[in-house]
């Protein structure tokens, strides 16, 4: 399914063929659920949030101006909803100050497992202040594409870059030992 298929499906829905919306859901369900999952790290809640995002997209389908790609519009709508939803009921996370490094990362078996270390870093992202967390989540979700992250967040690129810089800095300050460790592949 391509961008033109999206447009055709949207036009059919707007003409009254609701079943055409299923094509849109099938195409975008995985990205939208995964984006929600990155925000809340809870599978059940991610699906609920994605479902509501699709419902909002259905309601607002007529507002999509075709000057931008349908995916851009959909991600911006979903991001906006996820952000407000997470502000309303925050994810079960801890503050970055409460994210603890392992007492001794270099354990007897040669170091913290790579997987555990990666998980510690991802959890630390969820503990960041909301503005930096959102910028980091969207940046990596869009495969490190700053303009795409900026469009989803509805912010200027410069603001997103500044937030990414500060977010990374906070992470590095919080988890210096973990990040300094060589990964198992390098070791």
């Amino acid at each position: 399914m391509s961008a033109s298929d999206d447009q055709a499906a949207v036009e059919r829905v707007l003409a009254g063929d609701i079943s055409a919306f299923e094509q849109i859901v099938r195409r975008w369900q995985t990205p939208l659920v995964n984006l929600a999952y990155r925000f809340c790290r809870d599978r059940g809640r991610a699906e609920e949030m994605a479902q509501e995002a699709f419902l909002r997209a259905y309601r607002g389908l007529g507002q999509w101006r075709k000057d931008a790609a349908f995916s851009t519009w959909l991600f911006a709508l979903a991001t906006n909803f996820y952000r407000s939803e997470l502000r309303r009921i925050p994810a079960g996370t801890v503050s970055i100050d409460d994210v603890r490094e392992p007492a001794d990362p270099r354990t007897l078996d040669g170091g913290l497992e790579e997987q555990d270390r990666d998980e510690a870093v991802r959890r630390a992202v969820l503990g960041l202040p909301v503005r930096y967390r959102e910028a980091l989540i969207l940046f990596y979700f869009h495969e490190m594409d700053v303009p795409a992250a900026a469009r989803s967040l509805g912010l200027p690129e410069g603001t997103v870059k500044a937030r990414l810089f500060r977010g990374r800095e906070l992470l590095r300050n919080k988890l210096p030992q973990v990040l300094a460790m060589p990964s198992l592949k390098e070791a």
């Binding site: 369900q29 479902q51 990596y140 490190m144 990374r168």
Partner: protein
């Protein structure tokens, strides 16, 4: 190196697959939404005569009030003739009306500013 490592960790996010019933659940919600009756539009045809009546009543009230003020002004004019020190406020006519209006505006402005300042100091 640190940035590259951070990029690697955060890019390699574990991806989840939506559950098998996800599409069906979304479509069910969409169909429910589509089947729901459209919101009832505001009954302009019925409300418009009422709005017109209200507007006429308001204008009548203003006219009656204005007439009453003018009559009171005449009384004040007679009063001023007896007590000229009451000045412009009791002079009657357009000058008196303007003076009272100005005074009312000043009082309203002061009360608004005072209340805004009080709210601001609490916030």
């Amino acid at each position: 190196m640190e940035d590259a490592e951070l990029d690697r960790i955060l890019s390699n996010h574990d991806e989840i697959q939506p559950s098998s019933g996800f599409v069906a659940a979304v479509m069910e919600a969409v169909e429910r939404e589509a089947a729901a009756p459209a919101p009832i539009p505001f009954p302009w045809r019925r409300a418009l005569p009422l709005f017109c009546l209200g507007a006429i009543a308001l204008v009548s009230l203003i006219v009656i009030a204005g007439t009453a003020v003018i009559r009171a002004g005449n009384v004040m004019t007679r009063f001023t003739a007896v007590a000229p020190e009451t000045g412009l406020f009791a002079a009657g006519g357009i000058g008196s009306a303007l003076a009272w209006t100005g005074l009312a505006l000043v009082v309203a402005f002061i009360s608004v500013m005072a209340s805004m300042r009080m709210v601001g100091s609490r916030g």
